[in-house]
């Protein structure tokens, strides 16, 4: 595929490399060094770093400020943006601000409902949803216009991403919904964390059957388990997560102090297996509050060193 933006992530994917992205969650406070440290520890091992936008509706340092910091370190940020907290005025304004710092990747999300976060009493916005955010970025980039019709002089040059959860219900519409996001303008997809490999492969087969893998880059989402407690929590408490019992059984089968290592092993085995799945263009490794493990995963999965496309 040809490139449409100056995004390094897009260039790597267009060159046919398996891309590797990771994410860093900003702190619940004002210390920017936390972001810088996390980014520094993984920077050499990934092509781009997502910065979450108040994930699970818990207030954290903003994604935009953190992305600017990462950009100024010479690394490639992916600005995550949810539609829960801002209306179309705030959203377009933030996109302009991000573009002014040469942030070239955006991940368009609706966002977790505020009832899951630390401010369940907050009003939510949801002026638009994730699909409409994709349309909005595309409109700004390709037509140089705002939703109002106003023509901008300088347009944001952003590689447009979206998330998709192959494990949510109803399963039969999940390929269809991906098609809808692609129709809206999504160029890359970072999936929900995969644990149920069979179900994921069935979804990928549907994606390939419809030829969607030729229209959008798909990065398989992976989150290593720190232990059996985390696996159970993910299974029972996190919306949209599908953790099969054999993962829990496998983690329970090793002593507590070895469980984290086993979690990493599972993650690496998954990557090796997914490399063989048609339509997979890379991996999105979300090591939640465990960013320091990303280099090990990338290295052991045979994805290091990262390609240079400059």
């Amino acid at each position: 595929m040809n490139t449409t933006t100056p995004s390094k992530l897009e260039r790597i994917l267009a060159a046919g490399h398996l891309a590797v992205t990771s994410e860093c969650g900003p702190p619940r406070g004002c210390n920017g060094n936390v972001v810088a440290e996390k980014a520094r520890s993984i920077g050499d091992y990934v092509d781009a770093i997502n910065v979450t936008d108040n994930q699970t509706a818990v207030v954290r340092m903003c994604s935009l400020a953190s992305c600017i910091r990462i950009k100024q370190m010479g690394l490639e940020p992916v600005l995550q943006m949810v539609t829960r907290d801002r209306n179309r005025i705030g959203i377009q304004s933030d996109i302009m601000g991000a573009a002014s710092f040469d942030i070239h990747n955006i991940l368009c999300l609706t966002g977790d409902h505020q009832s899951f976060g630390d401010h369940p009493e907050a009003a939510n916005v949801f002026d638009m949803d994730s699909t409409q955010l994709i349309q909005t970025v595309k409109l700004m980039r390709d037509e140089g216009r705002l939703l109002s019709g106003f023509e901008m002089k300088d347009c944001p040059k952003m590689f447009i991403g979206a998330a998709e959860n192959p494990f949510a219900d109803p399963f039969e519409i999940r390929v269809s919904r991906l098609a809808k996001k692609v129709a809206a303008g999504a160029q890359f997809i970072q999936t929900q964390c995969i644990y149920n490999m069979d179900k994921f492969k069935r979804w990928m087969q549907g994606v390939v059957d419809r030829g969607l893998h030729e229209k959008v880059y798909i990065l398989a989402g992976l989150t290593p388990m720190k232990g059996v407690g985390m696996a159970k929590y993910m299974k029972n408490r996190v919306p949209g997560m599908d953790v099969p019992d054999d993962i829990i059984k496998r983690l329970s089968g090793v002593p507590k102090e070895k469980q984290a290592e086993e979690g990493i092993n599972i993650c690496i085995e998954q990557i090796q297996e997914l490399k063989e799945v048609k339509g997979i263009n890379g991996f999105h490794i979300m090591a939640i509050e465990w960013e320091e493990k990303v280099p090990e995963i990338v290295e052991r999965a045979g994805l290091y060193p990262r390609p240079r496309v400059d």
Partner: protein, 222 residues
């Protein structure tokens, strides 16, 4: 219909305890149907309050009435004479009724006796659920007759989100996923082609966001 539920007794007692004569005014419209503010509830509340104040040893006269509707001046005028006998009125109408009564009788405190909740339906006896958020621009034609604004917790136009599981919403397993309902209905209607078409961003100015709303029908004005 507008759905409401009775306010906790303590809250009502706290609001009226400084008065001596209080009128409980029900409404024979929506709140009667949802069993929150009709004549039956007026009688029940009045008895409960009389008992409470008697036990407290506080003198309190409680009057009872219910109007045909409290959202219509014609019916609210019926209180013109009797309201003079009271220090305050507890209205069991929806928020619109409480306010409209207060606009007409601006020297008497008009207190709410119910919490107004939503526009909904009687799903089964004793169960009322939300169906409409009065956005001012109905899109039910394209969503199989099920409203994503009222039925999706994120009011998504292009749902369902990744949290939909077994037909339930991620927010609460008691809530049906609005988009699962829409999908099932579109399928039944043979209209699944509508599902993949991205829906453009909505004009919310016809909704609450545009400020207080007004409808004028010239032909009906005198």
């Amino acid at each position: 219909m507008i759905m409401a539920k009775a306010k906790p007794m303590d809250e009502i007692i706290n609001e009226i305890k400084g008065f001596r004569k209080v009128l409980i005014a029900g409404c024979n419209g929506c709140v009667t149907v949802c069993e929150a503010g009709g004549m039956k509830e007026v009688e029940l509340l009045a008895s409960a309050l009389r008992m409470f104040f008697m036990r407290e040893g506080q003198e309190m006269e409680i009057g009872e009435t219910s109007l045909t509707r409290q959202c219509d001046p014609e019916y609210n005028r019926e209180l013109q004479e009797s309201i003079r006998n009271y220090d305050a009125v507890v209205s069991l109408a929806c928020g619109a009724g409480v306010q409209f009564l207060a606009e007409m009788y601006d020297n008497v405190p008009i207190l709410p006796g119910v919490d107004t909740c939503f526009i909904g339906v009687t799903e089964e006896p004793g169960v009322w659920t939300e169906r409409c958020q009065a956005c001012g621009q109905c899109l039910l034609a394209s969503t199989g007759g099920i409203c994503p604004i009222a039925r999706c917790s994120k009011r998504m136009a292009n749902g369902p989100c990744g949290g939909s599981a077994n037909g339930k919403c991620e927010v609460n397993k008691e809530i049906a996923c609005g988009w699962q309902l829409i999908y099932d209905r579109l399928k039944q209607l043979g209209q699944l082609d509508r599902f993949e078409q991205p829906v453009d961003i909505k004009n919310w100015s016809t909704s609450r966001d545009g400020g207080p709303r007004k409808i004028i029908k010239e032909v009906s004005r005198q």
